[in-house]
Symmetry: C2
Subunit: 329 residues, 2 copies
DNA sequence: CTGAAAGCGCTTACAG
DNA sequence: CTGAAAGCGCTTACAG
């Protein structure tokens, strides 16, 4: 009554399990007629090779994980979830193409164990410095790649998120002669923030304005950004543009501008990074950057497979991020 | 150099594999000092039981799938993706609590094979009638549950999405004496549409207005809804409210109202079902329904586990859907 | 051309 | 109290 095994199918077909195996794999010749008979019988009996047994024997990979590193409170909110899930959907597609299942490791509450999870590799999305999920996988020798460089861990393969370029594109767009542009990022040590800040300071030096970069606690979300922006805009009346990579923070900045009566984009220009629904539906709609997340996800899967198979990755080409100008700037 | 096996660990600890196994599982007594020695050694050697082998032996479940049934073009758009991914995030959390990995099966392009996917059960999200993903899993004897009843397949266990109640709540809210309310759903045979339409017709009969329900091709998204609503609103000037369960269609209706100069909510009241970012950020913001998707997802995982283990499910209680009134009504 | 047997890494009845 | 052995369902060298 349970699912039929290869032995049962072999018996029913009057051949050996060896032949059944080869009838399916085609790795050695089987008389066409016997093969047809076996396949027909298999279909009738509902036989499917147990992938677990197959994998145990062959040692091949079957499952990869996509893990978020964000603290639960942040990621569970709709804000970051969009970013993560857009990657997840794409990665799952690509993984399936390679006969891999993509399993989702959501942000973990503290003390959560992944002990029984069986994955052959993992993709970590924009990890922070000393991210526990990174050490978790490294401890158990699970091949690992990340989307966005891992701060302080140059040896971990990654798909570059080009945060420096992205930031520069945004800044060039926001810039007017005599401008003073501000930068709002998050407090965590995430590579995209670090690169953004570096690019920002270089840009300020180049154009000759006094940089002003603030960092907001990511768990605070839009509200925290609203309050910080209120303070920022009151204190620095000369600021005529703000670059806000995190979309939830960007809408917080918009809200602050509105409540201060600073018209966007005439008195204040705002732009963000992730072009999610939040940016598109904000009022005014937010200028954002197309990061080609689908290609990034695909590249991450490819890179992970290469890492698992211990072969050099074929360098995936991800087009440069491109600006999507909207009403906020 | 590869990962150590139980035999290697046993050898190193000077005990039998049996003892190592029991040291970890605790299923029979092992001298505390030997156990400690084994665990310490395991940590040092980086030993982790191979879950594949363990599962092959015990037959236990390890992975469940969350599958979307939507045609690729629809689901890949940001609209439905939010709904699906909100469920995915919650389901993944719950699954992990039960030591199961949740693997994501994205909408499949035609001709895509899942042959090598290894899952012990599957959750299908709001399937349509004769959904191919349903027959796929049924053919291979994979335990299956669905979120939302499967049209025409009463035997498949499901978590009720309470679409009838949801529709009624929306309609009661939109209703004014003398109102004529319209209904906009999708063309596919999805249970939530069928229930919504039934509830709608009953409501119209009850309140004595002439029902007008239209169905839109889901692949058309917001644009298709915009055009259909334009037509609808021009033809039926007496219509003062529209119930639009699909959020992407609802924003299309808003756009149509705007371009016709019909003020929302004064001249036209609009409400939708899924309370995602789209509804929250629409202008005007859309009245929607809290479907408790996190609890729905949790219940689906529980139900699936019960189905896999062939035991009766403990009935999860999902609170009734509750209306979230916003500016659109 | 085909089959019997070994073995992937575990767990658990069965002996001692 | 502990270990040797069987077995989960496959694949693949090895014989014939």
């Amino acid at each position: 009554m349970g699912k039929p095994t290869i032995v049962e199918l072999a018996k029913a077909a009057g051949v050996s399990p060896t032949t059944v195996s080869h009838a399916f794999s085609g790795r050695r010749h089987v008389e066409p007629e016997t093969r047809d008979r076996i396949l027909a019988l298999a279909a009738r009996m509902g036989y499917h090779a147990n992938p677990r047994a197959r994998r145990l024997r062959t040692g091949g990979a079957s499952t990869i994980a996509l893990a978020s590193s964000m603290p639960f409170a942040v990621a569970a909110g709709p804000s970051k979830l969009g970013f993560l899930m857009e990657i997840a959907a794409s990665a799952a597609m690509t993984a399936l193409t390679r006969n891999l299942a993509l399993c989702l490791i959501p942000p973990l509450r503290a003390g959560f164990s992944l002990e029984t999870i069986e994955v052959d590799g993992a993709i970590v999305v924009e990890p922070v410095e000393d991210d526990p999920i990174i050490s978790f996988f490294q401890d158990r020798g699970t091949p690992l790649v990340s989307i966005g460089r891992v701060p302080g861990r140059p040896a971990i393969p990654f798909v570059d998120m080009q945060s420096e370029v992205t930031t520069r594109i945004i800044l060039e767009h926001l810039w007017r002669p005599g401008s003073r542009i501000g930068l709002v990022t998050g407090e965590q040590r995430r590579n995209s923030y670090l690169e953004a800040e570096a690019a920002y300071r270089a840009f300020a030096r180049e154009r000759g304005f006094v940089p002003l970069a603030i960092r907001i606690d990511e768990t605070g979300g839009e509200d925290a950004a609203y309050k910080a922006a209120l303070d920022l805009l009151c204190r620095h009346r000369d600021m005529d543009a703000i670059c806000v990579p995190v979309d939830a923070f960007a809408t917080g900045v918009l809200a602050a501008a509105r409540s201060l009566g600073r018209a966007v984009p005439t008195a204040l220009r705002v732009a963000t990074r992730y072009d999610g629904m939040r940016a598109r539906l904000a009022v005014p709609s937010l200028t954002a950057v197309d990061l080609h997340l689908d290609l990034v996800a695909e590249a991450a899967v490819e890179l992970l497979i290469a890492t698992i198979e211990q072969r050099p990755p074929r360098g995936s080409v991800i087009p440069p991020p491109s600006l999507i100008v909207r009403h906020s700037s």
